[in-house]
Subunit: 266 residues, 3 copies
């Protein structure tokens, strides 16, 4: 990936203002909407099964997040996901808490089976569980993963024909063949709730305008991480960090992105 690509995609988002339909959780729903807006796209959140097909029909990407799932909301996700597949717009799944409970693991697998998911995003343990590796998830946190993370991500990508974005200290983005490593980000991002969910929204916005989803996801995570690095410099704690994070995400420009992007091919 050229380091200038991320900026080009971001400019596309700001020009086209794609609508990103979310069916997401009740904890970070507001932050998912706001970060989508800060990156220049238009968020819409709608989960009623009566309207999700129609809403996906006017959207440019669909982001599914099972953070506070119920079986009814998962049903809506399937309907929306099928509509997205039919229309040919990207579907991003954030596999929040997979491995922590049977409902989460089963629901994620059900979505992956019934819908073609274009990008599966999760922390190392969530991706590990979906890939069939030994992993521990405590609530929504990755506790452990046995095995080589890159190989595990690639195996899931091959099995599902999806791009897999495994987030962590170093993000791994792979379509099973090509693999990007992204080293942007700051430890302060873990001091607030919702950075993982927000990352999935940003991936959705990037995939809405760039059909090479591995490149789009890597670019999204680079830009997201750069905003985090810039914000961390000005933050004195999670309160000021979050405020600065929004300002920095909104103010990313070519110079910052080009000079700070740390993406390499594995």
């Amino acid at each position: 990936m050229q380091v200038t690509d991320a900026h080009k995609i971001l400019t596309e988002i700001k020009t086209k203002k794609p609508l990103i339909h979310h069916i997401t959780n009740w904890v970070t729903i507001y932050d998912c909407a706001n970060i989508t807006r800060a990156f220049g796209a238009l968020p819409v959140m709608a989960h009623a099964i009566e309207e999700v097909e129609e809403m996906t029909g006017i959207a440019s990407a669909l982001v599914l997040n099972i953070g506070t799932l119920t079986p009814e909301v998962v049903d809506s996700m399937i309907v929306a996901g099928k509509a997205a597949n039919k229309k040919g717009i990207p579907v991003v799944l954030d596999a929040v808490g997979v491995g922590a409970t049977k409902l989460r693991t089963d629901s994620a697998l059900r979505i992956i089976n019934e819908v073609h998911v274009d990008v599966i995003k999760g922390n190392s343990a969530e991706v590990g569980v979906l890939a069939g590796a030994e992993a521990e998830v405590r609530g929504v946190e990755a506790m452990s993963l046995r095995g080589n993370p890159v190989e595990i991500a690639k195996s899931l990508a091959k099995k599902t024909k999806s791009v897999v974005a495994m987030t962590g200290k170093k993000d791994i983005i792979t379509d099973g063949k090509k693999t990007y490593l992204c080293d942007n980000g700051d430890a302060m991002m873990g001091s607030i709730v919702g950075t993982g969910c927000m990352a999935a929204s940003v991936i959705g916005a990037f995939c809405a305008v760039e059909k090479d989803y591995a490149k789009a996801a890597a670019s999204a995570l680079a830009c997201f991480g750069i905003a985090g690095e810039l914000a961390a410099k000005k933050a004195k704690g999670p309160g000021t960090f979050k405020e600065q994070f929004y300002d920095e995400a909104y103010s990313l420009d070519e110079k910052k992105i080009t000079s700070m992007t740390k993406v390499s091919e594995a």
Copy 2:
């Protein structure tokens, strides 16, 4: 409207601390509650059909917002709306996303038919759809409206016997006869999610203490816009803007309101 009226109404709110019952969406529910508090009223959010009648019974205004509607929540809105009508307290409807899906349009029309709505709030396209004009809504954003916005707002007001508050670069507030134009606000308000929803909450607080609902809604939008203008001067992006917006809303005083209000009669 006298430019001093807005400040008088705000002082009434701070003195009486009216309870504003919301049945609203899961995206901006927290901001709706907080902005209600910042303007001096007391928010309560309750949507279970088992308690909405009782909660409305102790409230001074009811704010309905269909941003993440389901048919069950709309049922609760109808029950609460009827209780509000019976008690004689104002009902504000924020028609979020009307025109984007059939569920939204049908639900808003159902509420307007079964409940007397005192203030219908929406962006230009949402109001346009309710008025039967040609308009495009993408997700929750106004894309286009064909026709004269003032005339469209007035026609909806006459048809529904409601005050219509059509928000946009210049807000239009009309009861079908008297029409106010409000030119307060700043473009930064569009950089964060939820300003539209928050505006409806503030209208609810103003209507709770001022029975001339057109004047109350115009005053609310003027004060809300002034807070936005003051915040924008100090903001460097959506993060700092939102923080400053709350501070400014909380700190509005007679001098700021009197010198900055830009409301005229059309």
Copy 3:
């Protein structure tokens, strides 16, 4: 209670990172998660009846909050509460709005009857209603309470064999025998929505690592209040207050806690 105890418990939380399972309301769910994180614990929010037993099974404390209850969510709370009782982890109930509607009062009593609640938290009027005293709750605000607050809190504690944490200008924490009064906090905490809910989350985190729940709850409220006092010094309104509050909660240390804790035995 030794004034150094609060800091010791906080250090335990930061070391053990206990998982705090919440079944809570849709207004302040994000703040409950974030404040849990800021104090060093890991939050998880999950309400589907299909997964709450399993999620509680991997948690170290359970926080129940009826702020936007529905009968279905209360059912989930009962299932989770029984799982917590079986496992021996603390259950905290935030009795939001009890007394305002029959659904709230009945649901809180149902939870207390079917689950052993270790800490019942509420404002003076909410606790008063549960104790059978004369009290008025408007929405989620305490309006009045007839009788001696300490005696009322103690009577509820004795009746339910719970610790009762009655929050207000001066917090009262009692297990029916030993009673702590906590005088930390600042009036600015009432300028934002959700401080009550956040306090319950922090109590959950402290009880997760300290089995003397009265001491844990008093320590939690002291630390929470100290963060509020420190934040208020830097705040110019509710926006800056909230931001600073998170920073201060995150940055509490032995020196601040030891010098500022205002907890006495009644």
